[in-house]
Amino acid sequence: MKSVETSGLTVRLNGFEALSNVTLSLNHPTFTAIIGPNGAGKTTLLKTMLGLIRPQSGNIRVMGLDPIKEPKKVRSMVGYVPQRDRVSFFVPMKTKDVVMMSRLTSKRPPRWATEYDEIVVRKVLRIVGVEDLADRRFDELSGGQQQKVLIARAIVSEPRLLLLDEPFNGIDVRSQYEITNLITGLKESGVSIIIVTHDVSDIINLIDNIVILYRRVVAAGKPEDVLKEDILKSVYGDRIRICSYEPCLMFVPRDSHG
């Protein structure tokens, strides 16, 4: 069983080729990091996996299903954590209601919450370590706490594949560590994790694969096979700083958000 499989995947957005002939094969369960400069198509690839973007050509299968033909089935198996800044802070939602969103969207309108839904939401908030914030407004939480709540929202529906879009952006080291532990625990329980990030330093020893994306797959494989100076410089140019961090090279891209 593959968590994600693509062949010759090409995606055009507003006349621009965001992904070109992307071919990938990721096992299930996997812990894979997708890295690449801004505009490399990382988020586009995640959205294509969810069926939110229709590819121009090529094939994609997520957990064995075509996300374009069977989006509901795919989305019922996939948890998605968007970039935190994609969420509106105009809406004074309580933390527990943010998590409940995932439970209720799987029901039909008017989508009332049952007592069981409430119990499950509390349980997941406890798992991610923010149960005491259940009644606080989401927009009043710290960046790290918000990220944990968004992860709780994604895992409350018990997905088999979790997609995280830059979960470490703008959060402190301690929160990064806690989120990494959380994600690792999910991987150990059989959930596939695909994480888009600019900084793999905290997860380098945990991930199975790295995909370097720059509209096409530049390199994919085990971290020690992919994080090579020539490969990194071909993507990020000569301006990145590379240092040795056994068993592979580490780098700090200049255009990193975090």
């Binding site: 105009f90 809406v91 969103m101 995932s102 309108p109 989508r111």
Partner: protein, 275 residues
């Protein structure tokens, strides 16, 4: 002294309740991050009403200008929503600015053509008077407001989720585009209701000022909606009483009350000791 139970005042009391209901849709536009849209919808409604009156005058057929206003405003906001989904918030703003200009231009053009007695009818949409609503107006506005409220109540969760995180909602299997268009449609419809009730010029003060005030003071969405309705009722009845006592224009007095509540609430919040 005016009889507080006189028919025109009773209709005004009902109209204030209608405005309070439309403030829920105003709150929705604040949550969606398009607080300016009800005002734009109101200007589109003005243009629609002008066209309705013009049809009646030129073709000599009976057309309820308000019906044309509601259709025109709803189409305009739906179009803005469509443009916005393709081009982002700047595209929405541009589309609505165009709709505002079009609405006002149609109003000015039609007003130039119309005879004096019809100009008064048209001007009623620009600077409406809550005290001059007829029985049929109240019935029409009540029905349309009920439609808005029923749709909002049934799809409450969907609307909130699309306001909060449209991408995430779509990823969870919701048809976010459909519900987003529903939001735009409701704003258009409610904007036209508010236009007929209090006039284009002060729709913003009544649909949005209470909603923004409520958002500043509330800890939850339900709290925000409840407070928004309450503030609109306070502004509505307070402004009405003020206008009767001091012989002032009623809609303007209500708008002044709504704005004063907003300013007072923000000042109180700023001056309150931080806990």
């Amino acid at each position: 002294m005016v009889d507080p139970l006189s028919p025109f005042l009773i209709k005004a009391y009902v109209a204030v309740i209608i405005m309070a209901a439309t403030s829920i849709i105003g709150s929705m536009s604040v949550l969606r991050g398009i607080a300016y849209m009800p005002a734009e919808a109101a200007h589109a409604a003005l243009g629609g009403a002008a066209l309705g009156i013009l049809f009646g005058y030129v073709a000599n057929i009976t057309v309820d200008p308000y019906v044309v206003a509601a259709i025109f405003a709803s189409i305009t906001t739906l179009f803005a929503g469509y443009v916005g989904r393709r081009g982002g918030s700047e595209a929405i703003a541009t589309a609505l600015a165009g709709a505002l200009t079009l609405g006002v231009s149609i109003y000015a053009f039609v007003r130039y053509i119309l005879p004096a007695q019809l100009r008064v009818v048209l001007d009623g949409y620009l600077v409406g008077d809550i005290l001059l609503l007829g029985d049929s107006d109240i019935v029409t506005l009540s029905i349309l407001t009920m439609v808005c409220m029923v749709i909002f109540a049934i799809f409450y969760n969907e609307i909130i989720y699309v306001c909060f995180d449209p991408e995430g909602a779509e990823a969870m299997g919701m048809n976010a585009s459909f519900y987003d268009f529903m939001i735009f449609f409701l704003i258009g419809l409610a904007g036209s209701v508010a236009t007929k009730t209090v006039g284009t010029l002060i729709v913003y003060a009544l649909m949005i000022a209470p909603a923004i005030t409520a958002k500043e003071l509330s800890k939850s969405i339900n709290g925000m909606l409840t407070l928004s309705v309450t503030l609109t009722l306070v502004a509505g009845y307070g402004g009405l009483a003020f206008s009767i006592i001091f012989n002032m224009p009623s809609s303007g007095s209500i708008a002044i009350f709504a704005s004063a509540i907003y300013v007072g609430a923000i000042l109180a919040k700023r001056l309150a000791p931080k806990r």
